[in-house]
């Protein structure tokens, strides 16, 4: 449907920004994501899975990226990685794709309405959370390379 197409477009744009396609001309790189279970924050989950898949395949990347979802609750508090229930009750859901180089924003999408200040606060929280996710990538890769 339209929602899946929009998710595909967002994922594709994020991946195209980091994958070094110049090294593989006249070649298609296809990324297949299968949803096993959806408990909320699906788009950022897809972003994280996509980055790990690109790392596992050994494709040349200019930077790593991760996805973080923020839910803005009616009373103004920011909730990171909301569950499906929390997403429904929230005033606005913001998803950011954060790059590993200087925590730059690669992609941002918003559902609902929020003020500019609230968006800046969500972005700052997401950039702080990105550090934890990148550390997880590092630990996973370290475990994988220590086996061989």
């Amino acid at each position: 449907g339209v929602l899946e197409r929009s998710r595909e477009q967002l994922l594709r744009q994020t991946c195209e920004a980091v994958v070094l396609g110049v090294l593989h001309p006249r070649t298609a790189i296809s990324l297949v994501l299968q949803v096993l279970s959806d408990a909320g924050s699906l788009l950022s989950c897809c972003l994280n899975a996509a980055c790990m898949a690109l790392l596992d395949a050994g494709l040349p990347l200019a930077a790593l990226f991760c996805g973080v979802t923020c839910a803005l609750q009616p009373d103004g508090t920011i909730l990171l990685d909301p569950t499906a229930r929390q997403e429904q009750e929230a005033r606005a859901i913001l998803t950011f794709a954060i790059s590993s180089s200087e925590r730059k924003v690669l992609m941002s999408t918003t559902k609902g309405s929020c003020s500019v200040e609230e968006m800046q606060q969500c972005l700052a929280a997401a950039q702080r959370a990105a550090t934890t996710i990148f550390q997880f990538y590092r630990d996973s890769v370290r475990r994988r390379y220590s086996k061989s």
Binding site: A57, L61, S148
Partner: protein, 195 residues
């Protein structure tokens, strides 16, 4: 500035000027000039054979690129044959080209791989381990049964032993070497040579 584009372990060789490189495990093979690979003939187009080498494009191999081949004396290559050769042209802009002779015109082990035997795929990391100078896996296996072995840098290995059963046993051990530690491997081989 310097940008890291590959994921892996940073290695350092102190000798000479010193060299740094990133040891990464790739899934898909990318043709590199000078690599020795096993290709499968998929088509004969005039004077050139098309080979599947596991990359994004088929490689081309001229019929004159065999030892002792002339326009009158063509090599007997059929579709579906296995060829062991090396790349002379392999970059991102051009179709890769292979030859089965080295720079002095000798075949030095390259050419059409004989009948029978078994071709299978392993990961690129295991190939590098097997081709390392002091690889114990091959030494230990050779004490089990005598066999012929061709290792292609594109992840393909061809094995031929005296009987089909022996061939399959060697194939299974090589595939399992990916995940077994040295201890487990020695145990498995001891069990097999005991039988």
């Amino acid at each position: 500035g310097l940008l890291v584009t590959a994921c892996g372990l940073l290695r350092h060789r102190p000798g000479g000027g010193g060299a740094f490189w990133v040891d990464s495990q790739q899934k898909r093979y990318v043709p590199v000039k000078g690599d020795h690979v096993i290709g499968i003939v998929t088509a004969k187009a005039g004077d050139v054979f098309r080979l599947d080498v596991g990359g994004s494009e088929p490689a081309s191999l001229s019929y004159l690129a065999f030892e002792g081949a002339t326009k009158r004396n063509r090599p007997n290559v059929q579709v579906g044959d296995l060829i062991y050769g090396q790349f002379v042209v392999a970059n991102k802009d051009m179709e890769p080209e292979m030859v089965c002779i080295d720079s002095s015109g000798k075949s030095s082990g390259m050419g059409i791989i004989g009948q029978d035997g078994f071709l299978f795929k392993v990961s690129l990391g295991l190939i590098r381990k097997l081709l390392a100078p002091k690889c114990e896996i091959i030494q230990e296996l050779s004490q089990l049964y005598p066999f012929e072995l061709v290792i292609g840098m594109n992840g393909r290995i061809w094995v031929k032993a005296k009987t089909i059963q022996q061939t399959l046993i060697i194939v299974n051990i090589l595939e399992a070497c990916e995940y077994m530690t040295a201890e487990q491997r020695k145990q498995a081989l001891a069990k097999l040579s005991g039988n």
